[in-house]
């Protein structure tokens, strides 16, 4: 094993310039699209403890979050959710990284990392609150050490960097992990976050999910070089991994986390994957992308790939498949129930939590609106038990 345990080996290897959408030979892969495990002199080390049971469990996670995603999409089509941002095709990127984190690490993500939230132990009903229009954020971030989804593109990368500055001040060995897409790499905030992270050498991992599309804009519009290569300009080591290969993602994330915990500063990971669905349920990708492209990526499907590996190892038994299906069914049913039985927020909840201390302007407006509601004989003053949650 040639791996140096400081985790520096390979990460600084320059990548060839090229179309940022292409998957060149330089990118890290441990499982081929056909499901063959290929060894890697450096990165095998980072998944050396992954047993057959772990592989089965990763297969279960990926299948379950795909089912969550399909169920939520159905709930949107049925009018139960206003909107949903599907993660179809990105299961390996989310599970491989999400399952590498420690409880005391903190995640700052975009709105598509529902699989990561699943790994963090999010309550399934909480996952849907925002998309049903019942809340602006679904959960207490401290309950699962994950911020609620960020909608402003790339803004969360600064929050992760600041959080990591706090970790450094505290002398802790936790890591802040931020998820963002290929489109976000064009945002000033993401670039500023990398400047700060490099200057202060704080424990943050920049996990860039290159799913090739920012709504209708292809990644080549965002960057003339591969996204991972941008990190070098900030003095941040980077890795480009097959985002549809759960083991490769896990290996890269573990290396980056390890480096951060040891005081080695930030790492940029580009997980090359594909958004197989629309940007959100309100989007129509047939207007801007070729069906052939989707077909090419379907052949690299992350779940099929892991199933292929399990099959080669004789692990893809009928029993496993049934167990995974049962779990997915249970989770989906539980989520649907949580969605449709979610308590409705009450009118005056609209005023709650704007400030944490009394505010004379708002108190007056709330008082006037309560009187207005009362003028219809409504039960004014109504504030739900659960509040705006």
């Amino acid at each position: 094993m040639s791996t140096d345990q400081t985790g520096h080996g390979g990460a600084n290897t320059p990548h060839n310039a090229g179309n940022p959408g292409e998957t060149g030979p330089e990118f890290l892969q441990l499982i081929t699209p056909a499901g063959e495990r290929i060894s890697h002199p450096e990165f095998d080390f980072w998944v050396r403890d992954i047993t057959e049971d772990h592989l089965c469990s990763l297969f279960e996670d990926m299948t379950v979050i795909r089912r969550i995603d399909v169920e939520a999409t159905a709930l949107q089509r049925q009018g139960e959710l206003a909107l949903w941002p599907p993660l179809l095709g990105q299961e390996a990127a989310q599970i491989g990284s999400g399952r590498s984190l420690r409880t005391d690490d903190f995640v700052f993500s975009s709105y598509r990392e529902n699989g990561v939230a699943y790994c963090r132990g999010v309550d399934l009903t909480d996952l849907l609150r925002v998309w049903r229009g019942n809340a602006s954020g679904g959960w207490d971030p401290y309950s699962i050490n994950m911020a609620t989804p960020q909608i402003i593109i790339g803004a969360q990368t600064l929050h992760a960097t600041g959080y990591a500055m706090g970790i450094q001040n505290d002398g802790a060995d936790a890591v802040a992990v931020t998820y963002f897409g290929d489109g976000a790499t064009s945002e000033g905030d993401v670039n500023e976050a990398m400047v700060f992270a490099a200057s202060f050498q704080v424990p943050v991992v920049f996990f860039c999910t290159n799913n090739h599309w920012a709504i209708s804009e292809p990644v080549r519009l965002q960057s003339h070089i591969q996204l991972a290569d941008r990190a070098a300009g900030f003095g941040i080591p980077s890795l480009r991994v097959d985002g549809n290969d759960v083991l490769a993602v896990m290996a890269a994330t573990r290396l980056a986390l390890d480096r951060a915990r040891r005081g080695g500063g930030p790492t940029f990971i580009e997980a090359v994957t594909y958004r197989m669905g629309p940007h959100t349920t309100a989007d129509d990708p047939t207007r801007y992308r070729d069906a052939n492209e989707l077909e090419d990526w379907a052949a690299k499907d992350p779940i099929t790939r892991l199933a292929g590996l399990l099959e080669r190892k004789g692990l893809l038994t009928a029993e496993l498949q049934q167990r995974v299906k049962d779990k997915a069914d249970t989770v989906a049913a539980q989520m649907r129930r949580g969605c449709t039985t979610m308590p409705e927020p009450q009118p005056l909840d609209v005023f709650k939590h704007v400030y944490s201390t009394p505010n004379s302007w708002l108190e007056r407006q709330q008082d006037h609106y309560a009187r207005y509601l009362a003028s219809f004989g409504e039960p004014a003053g109504a504030v739900s038990e659960e509040g705006a949650r």
Partner: protein, 336 residues
């Protein structure tokens, strides 16, 4: 009691907060080794270390955005924006993140961030160094906006702002940085007038004159000049711009029946409009005349040789007082 300049008073307040709460950290450009371009943070990095008084790279969005992350982690960041006109790159983080995170998380995540902004003109600077952007922030729910007009308040209110669990924009009238005043450093912030309360500075019976920040001194000068002509002006220092503490203004206008509001910021959509509308709603039958605004013009902040035309001075304020009183003034005879 000690004689302190405005800048030293803020410095003393920051020092007190750093001493009292290990979670207080200062972030900004040039605030460490240099002690800030106005020396407001002078000596603090030397005494509290580079992890608590942090010189940052030049990126305002990142200064505020990392403060958000620090607040997530339980810190109480105090951010310096070097000049008013440099705050706009941070606008998204302030408006979309700092202001909304408490609401977004149903109160789970607090954002006790203080954003210090030297503001206002009168110092002969080039573009972007003399602006009054307060109305952008008073219009943003989730933020508190305060400003101070004397060294004692500067010392006390900075500590109250830092101790507040809500995000606070703390506007510092930069042309008053070198003004001196008595400061009682033993005054505990908790027992002082809360930062969201206005203060009546002079008792008067003819006109209510509302000012804040750099123009409070000008308003007081105007009141004493008017007193020479037998006009009695009640000067109110708003201090808090969001929310505005209307109670003392309402009480005053019910007494005087006349209201003049002055600020350096442009007139349209400014604080003066908000105060005029709110007081008209609440005191319509007590008003003897329409509220009068004496403000900067709706122009980009002008080059320094003309800035004194833009900034409301003593004479323009007195002209506004005359208008409120129905005395001869520059607009006499003009309809509407």
């Amino acid at each position: 009691m000690t004689q302190l300049t405005f800048a030293r008073a803020i410095n003393a307040g920051l020092r007190k907060s750093l001493e009292n709460d290990p979670k207080v950290v200062l972030l900004g450009e040039d605030i460490g080794t240099l002690g800030g371009v106005f020396r407001v943070t002078d000596g603090l990095q030397k005494d509290f270390g580079t992890h608590r008084v942090v010189d940052t790279p030049l990126a305002e969005s990142a200064i505020v955005g990392t403060a958000v992350g620090l607040a997530y982690r339980g810190y109480r960041p105090v951010v310096e924006i070097q000049f008013d006109g440099f705050i706009y790159p941070a606008f998204d983080q302030i408006v979309s993140q700092v202001a909304k995170l408490h609401y977004r998380t149903s109160g789970a995540v607090k954002m006790p961030i203080t954003i210090r902004v030297p503001f206002g003109g009168g110092i002969g600077s080039p573009e972007h160094h003399s602006e009054s952007p307060e109305a952008y922030f008073t219009h943003t729910s989730g933020l508190r906006v305060v400003t101070v007009a004397n060294p004692q308040d500067a010392y006390t209110v900075i500590q109250q702002a830092i101790a507040c669990d809500d995000p606070v924009l703390y506007f510092e009238p930069k042309r008053r940085y070198h003004d001196k005043g008595e400061v009682d450093e033993s005054l505990a912030p908790a027992s002082a007038l809360p930062m969201d309360k206005a203060r009546v500075l002079t008792d008067g019976s003819d006109v209510t004159l509302v000012a804040y920040g750099p123009l409070v001194k000008t308003a007081l000068d105007a009141a004493s000049a008017a007193a020479d002509e037998g006009i009695s002006i009640e000067v109110i220092d708003l201090r808090s711009l969001a929310p505005v503490d209307y109670e003392p203004v309402v009480a005053s206008v019910r007494k005087t029946g006349r209201l003049v509001i002055t600020h350096e910021a442009a007139q349209s959509g400014g604080l003066g409009a908000e105060v005029a509308a709110s007081i008209t709603e609440r005191c319509f039958y007590h008003l003897e005349a329409a509220p009068v605004r004496v403000t900067g013009f709706d122009i980009p902040y002008p080059y320094s040789k003309l800035e004194m035309h833009h900034l409301p001075g003593l004479d323009r304020i007195l002209d506004g007082v005359d208008r409120a009183l129905g005395r001869p003034n520059s607009l006499s005879g003009l309809e509407g």
